[in-house]
């Protein structure tokens, strides 16, 4: 998994574009309610946010293919992410 922090675009390791992350509400991850090991609920929009820290590229692509509007959380410190510019 790769992310460009400037454009907030997320790609697979092979370079395939997955999604551009955008949230106009700016709710912090810690302010969201934990729903499962890798998901939280945003109180503002009531959507489920998926933590990408434990996802591989296949899981990520499948998730976005099933729901292109799915919300993701990427932490720049997570081990499965590479930062690109």
């Amino acid at each position: 998994m790769k992310i460009n922090p400037s454009t907030k675009e997320i790609f697979t390791d092979a370079g395939a574009f997955v999604k551009r992350l955008h949230c106009p509400i700016h709710v912090k991850w810690k302010a969201m309610k934990k729903m499962g090991v890798d998901t939280r609920i945003c109180f503002e929009c009531n959507k489920t946010i998926h933590d990408t820290a434990s996802l591989n590229d296949t899981d990520l692509v499948r998730l976005i293919n099933n729901d292109p509007q799915a919300c993701l959380r990427v932490n720049l410190n997570q081990e499965n992410i590479k930062i690109i510019h």
Partner: protein, 212 residues
């Protein structure tokens, strides 16, 4: 009883007795009174005294964001005092990793003499012709501990699996990295008590989250 124990700590230093009922810490001039608790008589107090105060401060916020807050104490004096008070401690070695760094550049206005410190490469060009460089880009580790001894005060009724808030994390965790090279230390975090140690949830207060 608490007063007597703390009194014993301060009594180890000569001339610490001032007037009746008051003890002065020779380290920082803090005056302790057996009816009023700590009274700050000087602008500054030594870290030892600050951490002893954490142990005895009745106004300490026990809850925050719905989570129990864990007290962190640092220094041998506070740890000894906590043990004397019969508190349960999780003692840890406190050493800041060399990994953490922030960069800065110090510049001075050529006309007004104003000195400012900048931390972003992008701000550099904005000031280039108006300012003279005093300290060129350099990095420093902003985290320093006054003592290598530190401990969490474990509430006696803390249950295994309980989520808590730690405002002063002892162990080293990266809170965030900036693509300009700065690496930040996690100082505050949610954590889960395993029964033996705290499992720090770095993501709870990490910087660098992108959501969308």
């Amino acid at each position: 009883m608490l007063f007597k124990r703390l009194l014993d700590i301060f009594r180890t230093k000569p001339n610490s007795q001032t007037k009746k009922g008051e003890i002065t810490c020779t380290e920082c001039g803090l005056v302790y009174d057996n009816t009023l608790g700590f009274i700050k008589r000087e602008a500054n107090e030594c870290p030892d005294c600050q951490y002893i105060k954490i142990l005895t401060d009745k106004s300490f916020d026990e809850m925050s964001d719905g989570l129990r807050v864990i007290r962190t104490i640092r220094g041998e004096t506070a740890i000894k005092a906590a043990k004397d008070m019969g508190l349960k401690l999780l003692e840890l070695r406190a050493e800041v990793s060399d990994e953490f760094k922030i960069k800065y550049k110090k510049i001075k206005h050529r006309i007004t003499g104003e000195i400012i410190t900048i931390g972003d490469f992008r701000a550099d060009s904005r000031y280039s012709w108006k300012y003279k460089t005093l300290v060129d880009w350099t990095s420093k580790n902003p985290s320093k501990f006054f003592s290598p001894y530190a401990a969490y005060v474990i509430p006696k009724d803390l249950k295994k699996g309980e989520l808590v808030l730690i405002n002063d994390v002892i162990t080293n965790h990266v809170s965030g990295r900036w693509n300009q090279g700065d690496v930040y230390r996690l100082s505050k975090s949610e954590a889960t008590w395993t029964g033996e140690y705290f499992n720090i949830d770095v993501s709870s207060y990490a910087i660098g989250d992108i959501i969308g």
